[in-house]
């Protein structure tokens, strides 16, 4: 998209940097998974422990919100959570950027979830899935109200992927921008003449670790929110939301 001309760009042919970073995120996930699987023990180590924690958290959330049908959707939710989490945290490593700071990535994920839960709803309920768009049953003479409800429900349904993608993108993009500008300030203060301006380098240098911590927190929270909303949408579509 070229929204951040100041951002890190790797010119590898015509390969867009966010795509390259997505591949890096996949490689990290694959590396961690293979290492954890190879070293799997009855008494878990640190890596196995972290993986098991992610797994059990996602499983429990799905079970709570979807119920007995939840195991069918575990792979989707796990995939979404882990890929977004790793992508968000990738930007905290100097020299790398979060693929989720690109709107194409976040909107692709949100549209995937939107299409998935709608298709799943139609697959499970057939044409009856669209009944909830018309609101609760009303007498026939109130059909204009039902048409109005249909329009409102359709608008709020189409707003879901928009808000899902936009929320993730805005948070991660803001974090990337802040970290980028702080790095830029450190360099420009340090290279400028005058001892007073040079001492100002300390300010962005001291602020950067705080923003990195905030980025870590935001990265985990945003992955969690995306996961929770995805589970809630799927639960709503298949009609098992508790």
């Amino acid at each position: 998209m070229g929204l951040v001309p100041e951002g890190i760009e790797y010119h590898l042919g015509s390969l867009p940097t966010p795509l390259l970073m997505t591949w890096v995120a996949w490689a990290v996930i694959a590396g961690i998974s293979i290492t954890a699987a190879k070293r799997a023990r009855l008494v878990p180590g640190k890596l196995q422990m972290a993986c098991e924690m992610c797994f059990s958290y996602v499983y429990r959330l799905s079970d709570e919100m979807i119920g007995p049908a939840a195991p069918h959707y575990y792979p989707l939710f796990l995939g979404i959570f882990i890929s977004i989490l790793v992508s968000n945290l990738l930007g905290l490593i100097p020299g790398l950027i979060s693929p989720t700071s690109d709107p194409n990535t976040t909107f692709a994920l949100s549209i995937l979830v939107f299409l998935y839960y709608n298709i799943e709803g139609v697959r499970r309920k057939g044409a009856g899935y669209f009944r909830h768009f018309f609101g609760p049953p009303l007498p026939w003479y109130l059909f204009p109200v039902r048409i109005l409800l249909f329009i409102i429900e359709t608008i709020s349904s189409f707003a879901r992927p928009f808000s899902l993608g936009f929320r993730l993108f805005c948070n991660i993009f803001a974090k990337e921008m802040l970290l980028g500008f702080l790095a830029f300030l450190v360099v420009s203060f340090f290279l400028s003449p005058g001892i007073i301006v040079k001492t100002l380098t300390l300010m962005p240098l001291m602020l950067r670790p705080v923003i990195v911590l905030l980025g870590l927190f935001i990265g985990v929270i945003q992955a969690l929110i995306f996961l929770l909303l995805s589970i809630s949408y799927v639960a709503g579509a298949i009609g098992t939301e508790e």
């Binding site: 059990s56 429990r60 429900e153 909303l229």
Partner: protein, 81 residues
């Protein structure tokens, strides 16, 4: 599918760990409101352009978008409670 039941995990996240998420999801209700209004406006603009109805449908769908946003926020909040 392998199921994990580790007490250490429970201790770390807390038995009601899933309640952390909805609290943060509430913090992003504003974006839902904006998204609904924007979608309503886009549909209105699109319909006005193709049906050549001036700006009547834009205004109607803009208002409906706001209504959808309010409805969605109320729905989310009532579910959280």
């Amino acid at each position: 599918m392998v199921r994990f039941n580790d007490t250490t995990v429970e201790r770390f996240i807390g038995k009601k760990g899933s309640e952390i998420g909805p609290v943060w999801a509430v913090a992003s209700l504003g974006i839902t409101m904006v998204a609904c209004t924007a979608i309503g406006l886009i549909i209105g603009l699109f319909l006005d352009k193709y049906l050549k109805t001036g700006s009547v449908l834009t205004i109607i769908f803009f208002v409906l978008g706001i209504a959808a946003g309010i409805k969605q926020v109320i729905k989310e909040l009532s579910r959280k409670q």
